[in-house]
């Protein structure tokens, strides 16, 4: 069945060569057109993306389960080998944590007392949706994952994706039964944070490497390796105090943060709805400045952050 095809090609090759050259130009042009649409009209692109992702998510869900089981078996074998040393390390850690638990209990009681004392507004209730990570595109250009929960499970755009260790990212696209999480390490991710005991404010900016950098750190800020980095709550996307990571490098080029989340073993994500009021404004700001940045959160977050700082100072 192959031979007739190849002889046909030989006869019609000049015509075909012409047609294919034209088709190449046309399709490359179409690709550039898509690039422009992607830049200018993010809404259509997002809708298309979530529709396609929705179609693929059940397949990925089915395929990723045996893979997860397999990697689980390997992990168990590894764990079995390190049982003794791990047990010792855990005992040591347990002793230290017991001490911290005591301190935390004491502080919790004290905190509750003080809140009552000051008539403080209670924190909003948090609702969680737990979802499995079913897709990890990898590659050099993006750091996102797909999860098997979407609109029908109550997932909304902008919500925080967290693991037991800390913040992993935020929901960037939502389909009916799947959603995409923009990880902290993605080049489009910008998260307002506070650093260290001095609570210096900065923006955590991903660059597709495993250790995102800190932007807009004040000139007086003193940052050391090992300093704790958590969300500042500015911009109204995340609540303050979500753990992110520790400062892993301070050089002339900038400050690097190592997130707590173990990217290689991120199998389940909790999507937390903190009922942040800032999200509505945030979305408006994004649509207003949609052409500015691909994910569009840098100027929006910075602007909202500035507003909130002003409010905070006024109080």
């Amino acid at each position: 069945m192959n031979k007739p095809a190849s002889s046909e090609i030989r006869i019609a090759s000049p015509v075909k060569a012409w047609a294919s050259r034209f088709a190449l130009l046309l399709l490359v042009g179409a690709a550039f057109g898509l690039m422009l649409i992607g830049r200018s009209n993010t809404f259509i692109v997002e809708e298309t993306r979530s529709a396609v992702t929705d179609m693929v998510a059940p397949i990925l869900d089915a395929v990723s389960q045996p893979v997860e089981t397999f990697s689980g078996v390997i992990e168990q074998a590894e764990a079995l080998a390190n049982l003794r040393s791990e047990n010792l390390a855990l005992k040591d850690q347990n002793a230290r944590l017991m001490k911290w638990q005591g301190i935390a209990r004491q502080l919790e009681a004290e905190n509750a007392n003080l809140r009552q004392f000051n008539n403080m507004v209670p924190d909003p209730t948090i609702t969680y949706v737990t979802a499995r990570v079913v897709g990890d595109p990898g590659g050099a250009f993006v750091r996102t994952v797909l999860i098997n929960a979407g609109e029908r499970d109550g997932v909304e755009k902008g919500e925080a994706a967290i693991t037991s260790k800390g913040l992993a990212g935020r929901i960037s696209e939502v389909g009916k039964r799947s959603a995409r999480v923009l990880l902290l390490t993605d080049i489009n991710s910008r998260v307002p944070v506070v650093v260290g005991d001095g609570r210096d404010r900065a923006i955590l900016a991903g660059d597709n490497s495993n250790a995102p950098g800190l932007l807009y750190l004040g000139p007086t800020a003193k940052v050391r390796i090992g300093d704790y980095v958590s969300t500042s709550g500015q911009g109204g996307v995340f609540p303050p105090g979500l753990p992110i990571g520790v400062v892993s490098g301070v050089t002339e080029k900038g400050v690097r943060v190592k997130p707590f989340v173990d990217w290689a073993h991120m199998e389940v994500l909790r999507i937390a709805d903190y009922e942040m009021i800032g999200i509505a404004d945030f979305e408006e700001q994004v649509s207003a400045a949609r052409a500015a940045v691909a994910a569009g959160d840098a100027p929006g977050a910075a602007q909202a952050a500035a507003q909130e700082t002003a409010q905070g100072d006024a109080h």
Binding site: M1, N2, A5, S6, I9, S20, A23, L24, L27, V28, A30, A31, F32, L34, M35, I37, G38, R39, V45, R49, V52, T53, V56, I59, L60, V63, S64, V67, E68, S71, I74, V133, V134, G135, D136, P137, G138, G139, A140, F141, V142, R143, T144, V145, L146, S172, E173, R180, I187, N188, D207, N208, S209, N210, W263, A264, H265, M266, E267, A294
Partner: protein, 171 residues
């Protein structure tokens, strides 16, 4: 009876002629599956590039340029990156192979692999450049380079599997 055979024969033909396209789409899905194994998971090979290159070399009639465009589109949509750069990369890889198709007619496996190293370098470099331009940022080319190395290392395994599959089909 004979007519029925004809129908099956035709269906079989259709299945064979669209299989390169669907196999390449399947490769894209495969590259999306989270492996949870190593810290190196960000550097997954560009499997769609391997598929497009392989079929463009061995069965260009079954990997037409519009199929390459669709594969690129699906890849860019699913990976969540900027739409466009990945498509252009695949289209250029396909165009390079078609342009030099006479060279590939008599080429041995190793020579085709070497050619893939060149084509993949051009395609990934172009994808990187266009992504940087489209996002108006500078993306560290080191990770692209690692992805390139992994991709050319994976090529022989996949090409071997494809060749086996092709032989099964043609028997």
């Amino acid at each position: 009876m004979r007519q029925e055979e004809g129908v099956w024969y035709r269906l079989d033909n259709v299945a064979r002629s669209i299989s390169p396209f669907f196999v390449t789409l399947l490769l894209i899905l495969l590259s999306l599956v989270p492996l949870h194994l190593a810290d190196l998971s960000p550097i997954v090979p560009a499997l769609a590039l391997i598929g497009v290159f392989f079929w463009s070399v061995h069965r260009p009639d079954l990997m037409p340029i519009w199929a390459v465009f669709l594969i690129g589109l699906v890849q860019d949509v699913l990976t969540g990156g900027t739409l466009g750069p990945g498509i252009v990369g695949l289209l250029v890889a396909h165009a390079l192979v078609v342009w030099q198709h006479r060279f590939f007619l008599a080429a041995s496996f190793v020579v085709v692999w070497c050619a893939f190293m060149l084509v993949a370098a051009v395609a990934l470099a172009l994808t990187w450049l266009l992504t940087c331009i489209a996002m108006v940022t500078y993306i560290d080319p080191a990770s692209v380079f690692f992805q390139y190395l992994v991709t050319i290392a994976v090529y022989p395994c996949l090409a071997w599997a494809f060749l086996r599959g092709r032989r099964l089909f043609q028997r």
